[in-house]
């Protein structure tokens, strides 16, 4: 690893990673000095192709940050420009330079604004310090990606992750995925908000929520930031309940703000709080999950299940997902792209369910056309809640692309 050449250790700082196993990242060290301008040394595995581009970008980023005199050494492992900017900015700020300035990457087109009850079957967690996972995450078509600032990021790297996630929201195209950020527990989470909200994430996950006040605090700060940065897209909230207290207050938390669009549960922490072992069947969390679903429905929002941690066990994942759906959840988290398709199939209604619901929906439409108050199918009378459920199921199946094209037009 690089070390400062002169003994100005209080000033010199570094950021990022390099090494044989590192991909799509870089290591930067910045050593401030009083004069002499910027002196940049570069080592890069892509030097023949992008060496000049990296040098130019390094200079531009430092100038944008207001860094005039420094020894800068860059060890690049094929990082993309949005990562290079983030690591340079982190190193400069750690060196006590560039405070108050940002070096933002080129902006990609934002996806359509997210709606409150959109399809959220799968949300793919991406550790906030691992840029190599970001660039292609959208290609695997989860309903959402989560840029994580919390548990997957070491304490010493929170500042780096925040800047990288900010640049990622701005510079990476995630296709039609909803772009979520999991912030840290408050009060650290408020610093996260200040950095990432200007780049308009679609949803913020708040960890370890136990009281509605925590949600309100986040909501207020987001509203302030939206005003300050003239954002008029919705930014939804998904509180994560991870304790017995959180579960007890589930409804109040769900109802804490009109921006709360879903509740979810963190089972590792929850089972630890209960002092029980987390099992493959999940019996120990059945009450909490049932309670959460009920609270979410009572508040008119979605319920989302925890993640399934064993990426090798696809059958276990499918069973877990099917049980989740049966309990009333709308989706769950995932930690590897290979889990996405399995989750989508677990949360898909069966063909038999779809056909039955379609029949009910046509009977309902027919009754409406004929001005009948009572919907009947064959000799059976269909109750209004059944009609409602069928309408929902057909709408969902349509959103999942499960209806044949003919029927999808209806």
């Amino acid at each position: 690893m690089t070390s400062p050449k002169e003994k100005k250790a209080t000033q010199a700082a570094e950021a990022g990673h390099w090494g044989q196993d590192v991909r799509s990242d870089l290591h930067v060290s910045v050593e401030p000095r009083q004069s002499g301008g910027l002196e940049i040394t570069l080592e890069s595995r892509v030097a023949p192709y992008y060496g000049d581009a990296i040098r130019t970008q390094t200079r531009q980023v430092l100038e944008t940050l207001g860094v005039k005199h420094a020894l800068v050494s860059v060890h690049d492992e094929g990082a993309l420009p949005f990562v290079i900017s983030a690591r340079l900015e982190t190193a400069a700020k750690r060196a006590g330079l560039g405070a108050g300035n940002k070096a933002l990457p080129e902006k990609v087109r934002l996806p359509e604004a997210s709606v409150r009850d959109r399809l959220r079957r799968s949300r793919l967690y991406l550790p906030g310090t691992e840029p190599k996972y970001f660039i292609n995450a959208g290609l695997h078509s989860p309903d959402a990606i989560i840029l994580d600032l919390e548990d997957s990021v070491h304490h010493a790297e929170k500042d780096a992750a925040r800047i990288l996630v900010r640049n990622t929201l701005r510079g990476v195209d995630f296709g039609s995925c909803e772009r979520m950020v999991r912030i840290n527990q408050l009060p650290l989470g408020l610093e996260d908000l200040a950095e990432v909200i200007p780049e308009a994430p679609d949803m913020v996950l708040i960890p370890k929520v136990e009281h509605p006040g925590q949600v309100a605090q986040v909501d207020r700060m987001i509203e302030e930031l939206k005003v300050r940065h003239s954002l008029n897209r919705p930014i939804w909230l998904m509180p994560i309940l991870e304790s017995a207290m959180g579960i007890e207050n589930a409804f109040a938390i769900a109802a804490a703000s009109a921006n709360v669009a879903a509740l979810t549960i963190g089972l590792e922490d929850y089972t630890a709080d209960l002092g029980v072992t987390k099992t493959l069947e999940g019996t120990e969390s059945l009450y909490a999950r049932g309670r959460l679903v009920n609270a979410a429905r009572a508040a008119g929002i979605q319920a989302s299940d925890s993640v399934f941690g064993d990426v090798g066990d696809m059958e276990g994942l499918l069973r877990w997902g099917e049980t989740s759906r049966a309990l009333g959840f709308d989706g769950m988290g995932c930690i590897h792209p290979s889990q996405i398709a399995v989750i989508h199939s677990a949360f898909a209604p069966s063909q038999a369910e779809i056909e039955k619901s379609q029949k009910i929906v046509s009977a309902f439409e027919e009754a409406q056309q004929r001005g009948l108050g009572v919907v009947s199918l064959g000799s059976k009378m269909i109750d209004p809640p059944v009609v409602q459920r069928a309408l929902k199921l057909v709408a969902r199946a349509k959103a999942m692309g499960l209806l044949p094209k003919e029927a999808a037009r209806n």
């Binding site: 581009a53 970008q57 094929g78 292609n136 792209p337």
Partner: protein, 520 residues
């Protein structure tokens, strides 16, 4: 070292040397344009009288065998690469030649491997003049840096057969490593502690060389059954303790990629075959042993089961995955060019439906047809593909030699040629304006499958029509290129290549397709 090399432009505008290692060259004329007449080369006539009636052709060691074959300065000696990075025989032969004090040999392996890097010392000491055959790793760098006395000549597997058969390369002595052999020289690769499966790459050497030496670590009493190399073509047999390191000859198991992006590419390739209707009863395909290719086979296998489709034959590079398809009845035969893992070696040794082939049957362009063009679809890799669908497999984007052509060029004659590649690696675009080194002309490359979408060569309107209305992400190749240039922050700088040729890339017909230039 050649002083001044005269260059000519070939039919695709690449500058190629007119003379290579003292032999005049024909610049590439276009696919299918060069059809030489005349007769094939042939080895000298021999008489039974000169060989022991007992059939026992053993001599004590390789040095003796080389002496008896009349080894002298400037000769061409050849090896096959079925033992891959585990091979010991090639270096054994070259070192024996060094001990005999001969100079300026041309080494003509069917491919070289990193474990043979001490061939560099033999070039430095003058034993080897130059290498014609794939070079990568340290040997590749040695060549690319312009340190070799002659020019490297890169040929496909089929092109190597063609060059030998057409008399472009005359092998003086072939040294054939054999996992099993008898004292008469019959040899086979499917049994023995160093079993490697097929020995097809050594077949031309055994047929056309002036002399052939079989080297084995598993001598069996006559007859060696089955035999892929016929003892009637062999002069001497040498028994040694070990012909190679079994752990490096075959991998215990070949692994499917775990990269989600590469899995996505593999799945898209399989879906393409299904949606285009290529995957149908009685079809055939070929895929290599790379991570994406293996994953593709696994996805295709599932789809074939779902749709109740069976293949008539699949072409190896064989692995466990093809063997399982054979055992599940999803294909009638495996026609195998090389055998990559333990399961495949066991299968070829025990299952008559798993058949060893050679570059003659599969790849040779100057023949009465070859299997390659009869395969419905082939899935290949590449280091670069350009917007005209030209492919590069031999050099890195910076011009350094990366790997050999293998069967890649030969496979381009399949019904549907698919390159399965990531759109960029690290920050280096794979889809580019123009390939650094042309290895395969774009007119023969039909489909490029990346994680960001599938590009179909506009020449293949039939394929474009076949997948119209499907859910596949079909996109113009320019479109994918523009996207990755946006992601990577602009076009990459062009590599700074030198102006001195260090190697040439031959096309399957022996004409010169492109030049590898000195770097660094």
């Amino acid at each position: 070292m050649p002083e001044r090399i005269e260059l000519a432009h070939n039919a695709v505008g690449r500058r190629v040397p007119a003379m290579v290692n003292g032999k005049p060259q024909i610049p590439y004329l276009g696919a299918g344009k060069y059809q030489p007449r005349g007769r094939k080369a042939a080895p000298p006539v021999r008489s039974n009288k000169d060989y022991p009636e007992s059939g026992d052709k053993r001599v004590p060691d390789l040095q003796t065998a080389l002496q008896k074959c009349g080894l002298r300065d400037g000769m061409v000696i050849s090896n096959h690469h079925h033992l891959r990075d585990g091979d010991r025989v090639a270096l054994m032969a070259l070192e024996a030649a060094a001990k005999l004090g001969v100079k300026d040999l041309m080494w003509f392996p069917s491919a070289s491997f990193p474990s043979q890097k001490s061939a560099i010392d033999l070039m430095e000491s003058g034993t080897i003049h130059h290498i014609e055959g794939s070079m990568n790793g340290p040997l590749g760098d040695y060549c690319t840096q312009g340190k070799m006395r002659g020019l490297g000549v890169l040929r496909s597997h089929g092109g190597r057969w063609q060059a030998i058969q057409d008399g472009e390369v005359h092998i003086d002595i072939a040294i054939i490593a054999a996992p099993t052999a008898d004292a008469f020289g019959n040899a086979d690769g499917s049994h023995g502690k160093s079993a490697c499966g097929s020995l097809g790459f050594a077949l031309a050497d055994s047929l056309y060389a002036d002399s052939a030496i079989v080297v084995t670590d598993n001598l069996v009493p006559f007859p060696c059954i089955p035999w892929q190399i016929q003892g009637n073509n062999v002069d001497y047999v040498v028994e040694v303790d070990s012909i190679g390191d079994p752990a490096k000859i075959v991998s215990g198991t070949t692994q499917i990629t775990r990269s989600p992006d590469r899995l996505r590419i593999a799945e898209l390739v399989a879906q393409f075959l299904r949606e285009s209707g290529i995957m149908r009863n009685g079809f055939s395909f070929q895929a290599g042993a790379g991570g994406i290719a293996l994953a593709f086979v696994d996805y295709l296998r599932r789809m074939m089961k779902e749709d109740g489709v069976k293949a008539r034959f699949v072409r190896g590079g064989s692995t466990r995955y093809l063997v399982e398809m054979l055992q599940e009845g999803l294909t009638d035969y495996i026609l195998d060019g090389q055998t990559f893992d333990l399961d495949a070696v066991q299968s070829i040794a025990g299952d008559p439906r798993h058949v060893p082939t050679s570059p003659f049957t599969s790849y040779n362009y100057h023949g009465k047809g070859s299997f390659a063009s009869m395969v419905d679809a082939v899935v290949l890799g590449a280091t670069e593909v350009d917007v005209n669908f030209n492919g590069n497999v031999v050099t890195h984007s910076d011009g350094r030699l990366l790997h050999g052509i293998g069967g890649w060029q030969n496979c381009l004659s399949a019904g549907c040629t698919i390159l399965a590649v990531p759109s960029f690696r690290d920050r280096i675009p794979v889809i580019v304006d123009e390939v650094t080194t042309l290895t395969g002309p774009g007119e023969l490359i039909d489909v490029v499958v990346t994680e960001r979408g599938i590009a179909i060569n506009p020449r293949r309107q039939d394929l474009l029509d076949a997948v119209k209305g499907s859910n596949l992400p079909i996109r113009p190749i320019q479109d994918i290129k523009a996207e990755i240039e946006r992601i990577c922050g602009g076009k990459p700088a062009r590599p700074k290549l030198g102006d001195r040729p260090v190697a040439i890339v031959k096309w399957v017909d022996g004409t010169v397709l492109d030049t590898v230039w000195q770097v660094g």
